[in-house]
């Protein structure tokens, strides 16, 4: 397996969907190739970072514009 193929299989590997045989090739390459190993780690960090940064409980998202508040309240009274 070449680095190029490893990059193609990354998503299936991370989600545990890579078939056994490809998985063995994947892991063999990974054990020899520091560059692909670094890439895999960063791919996984990227997924987690997105989740954490966009956490629904976060209050860092800024305030709602005043005109939208007014529009929502006005629309509610009409219904």
């Amino acid at each position: 397996m070449k680095c190029r193929e490893l990059a193609d299989f990354l998503m299936d590997y991370v989600s545990g969907e890579l078939p056994q045989e490809s998985r063995a090739h994947f892991e063999f390459h990974l054990s020899k190739c520091k560059n692909c190993h670094a890439y895999l780690v960063q791919y996984e960090v990227t997924i987690k970072a997105g989740k954490i940064a966009c956490d629904e409980m976060s209050d860092e998202m800024g305030a709602i514009p005043d005109e939208l508040v007014k529009a929502v309240l006005a629309a509610r009274q009409k219904t």
């Binding site: 070449k2 680095c3 190029r4 193929e5 990059a7 990354l10 998503m11 560059n35 692909c36 670094a38 890439y39 780690v41 960063q42 791919y43 960090v45 990227t46 997924i47 987690k48 970072a49 997105g50 989740k51 954490i52 940064a53 966009c54 629904e56 409980m57 976060s58 209050d59 860092e60 998202m61 800024g62 305030a63 709602i64 514009p65 939208l68 508040v69 529009a71 929502v72 309240l73 629309a75 509610r76 219904t79």
Partner: protein, 201 residues
């Protein structure tokens, strides 16, 4: 910025909403509106559609207050409603031509090796994301992804839809959805790399 600290007494607030208390409606819109707007923007990509989705979501929520169960968090319930409102927007929208993402994908040499030597990101993820500036940075870079890719990444990795649901909403095949998700993650990695790589390596 309006404070969005957790409401101590959410059940009081819900009771006020159910009683039709005008001030309670305004309080809820101000308290949760900012983050709901951010969620909608990330899914639909345009300010106008995002605002429509937020308005639809609040109206829906206010109409179905009797379906809100006390053991759920109000913010979680509203979040789900705004995601659905945003998905409705996506479903009814004309699809735009796919934008290019090639420049953000890894390049390979003829022999199949990576062109780039990846500098390691040594700082553990939890530590990285403890800093507000990094969380802000990640959100900005997600927003910077080409439209069709950002939407897939947001629905799959952030909102937790499965591949089939995502494919349905976007009118894509399951396979195309998978490819887009993989490319979107790779592109986001590229955008984060200059900020996350270790200074020492």
């Amino acid at each position: 910025m309006a404070s969005a600290a957790p409401v101590d007494n959410e059940s009081t607030l819900v009771a006020q909403l159910r009683a039709g208390d005008e001030q309670a409606f305004e309080q809820v819109v101000r308290l949760y509106g900012g983050r709901l707007l951010a969620v909608a923007r990330r899914i639909v990509g345009t300010e106008e559609d995002a605002r429509d989705a937020v308005q639809d979501a609040f109206l829906n929520a206010f109409k179905s207050l009797d379906r809100f169960e006390g053991n759920a968090k109000l913010s979680t319930w509203l979040h789900r409603i705004v995601v659905n409102a945003a998905l409705m927007k996506l479903r009814t929208r004309k699809r735009k031509p796919e934008q290019s993402i090639e420049t953000l994908l890894p390049g390979f040499l003829e022999d199949g090796h990576h062109e780039e030597r990846f500098k390691s990101w040594d700082e553990p993820i939890d530590q990285l994301m403890e800093r507000a500036e990094n969380r802000e940075l990640v959100r900005k870079q997600i927003d910077a992804l080409p439209e069709g890719y950002r939407t897939v990444l947001v629905l799959r990795d952030i909102e937790g839809l499965d591949t089939e649901e995502t494919a349905n909403v976007l009118g894509l095949s399951v396979n195309a959805t998978k490819i887009r998700l993989h490319r979107a993650r790779q592109a986001l990695r590229t955008l984060l790399a200059p900020h996350f790589r270790s200074a020492a390596s």
